[in-house]
């Protein structure tokens, strides 16, 4: 493979064909998205969820997870949001993300004033030690966030 250098004499040595291949190469690079850090993908998903609004780590959300998971395949989680859950003041939805999974999305819980209490539990997969992030959208359009770090261990002789 040729080293890409557009400076000095190397440019003169370039044939027409080389230049064509190089352009094609640059185009290919342009259309294939660059690998993005998983944590960045998570941040992007949060931006999409909030529409760019600030999601404050205000203590309004609690995210209950084990500090150490015995196996990443089944990690329990409970998310709850402090809200009166009345007709004009309630939690609309809570998105849960894992920032170092192959894909950060985990689940989005949709609540209603009928929920009475904004709380949901499930069991999730964690590919490795990472942050789990919950973002809540309230009926007044504000957003709140909570984070938990979960260590994922590998058992005995590898299983």
């Amino acid at each position: 493979m040729k080293t890409l250098s557009l400076k000095g004499d190397a440019m003169k040595d370039m044939t027409r064909r080389d230049a064509l291949w190089m352009t094609a190469g640059l185009l290919a690079v342009a259309v294939v998205p660059l690998p993005v850090d998983a944590a960045d993908t998570a941040m992007e998903e949060i931006r999409q969820f909030t529409g760019g609004s600030e999601a404050a780590e205000s203590g309004k959300i609690s995210l209950e997870m084990p500090e150490i998971a015995e196996n990443g395949n089944t990690v329990p989680l409970t998310v709850s949001v402090d809200s009166p859950m009345s007709g004009d003041d309630y939690v609309k939805r809570v998105m849960v993300l894992a920032d170092a999974n192959p894909r950060p999305g985990v689940a989005t819980f949709h609540f209603s004033p009928k929920s009475g209490v904004a709380e949901a539990s499930t069991r999730m997969r964690l590919a490795r030690t990472q942050n789990v992030i919950a973002v809540a959208e309230m009926s007044d359009g504000s957003f709140h966030m909570a984070k938990a770090t979960v260590k994922v261990t590998i058992g005995g002789c590898g299983g």
Binding site: G105, T108, S115, G116, A120
Partner: protein
């Protein structure tokens, strides 16, 4: 397991205004679409991608589910019992299957 089977644990009766807890579990392998088979080919994703709980026809709670939810998905949530009626719990599978279960609730 070959066929998905839902389980639900919800009270049959509640006091008016009481917030009740509903627990659900369904057998499903939740194939993430990230795993490879022995030949190195990607195993296509097949998950339960949505769960909806309705009460008297009205959606009270729902979940958009991603492959990061564990096999045999467990979901627990709350509802305020305002009036008597019937729950309908619905699970939607990537393969088009829909699993559902109904249960009555009396309110005193």
């Amino acid at each position: 397991m070959a066929k998905s089977k839902p389980r639900v644990k919800a009270p049959k009766a509640a006091g008016k205004g009481e917030v009740i807890t509903i627990k659900t579990l369904i057998s499903h392998k939740m194939e993430s679409g990230q795993r490879k088979d022995k030949q190195g080919n990607l195993i296509p994703r097949q998950i339960i991608h949505n769960f909806t709980a309705k009460f008297n026809g009205e959606t009270v709670f729902s979940v958009d589910i991603e492959p990061a939810i564990s096999a045999n998905p467990y979901l627990q949530f709350k509802m305020r019992a305002d009036e008597p009626g019937e729950f309908e719990f619905i699970w939607e599978d990537d393969d088009g299957s829909v699993y559902s279960k109904k249960q009555k609730l009396s309110v005193t």
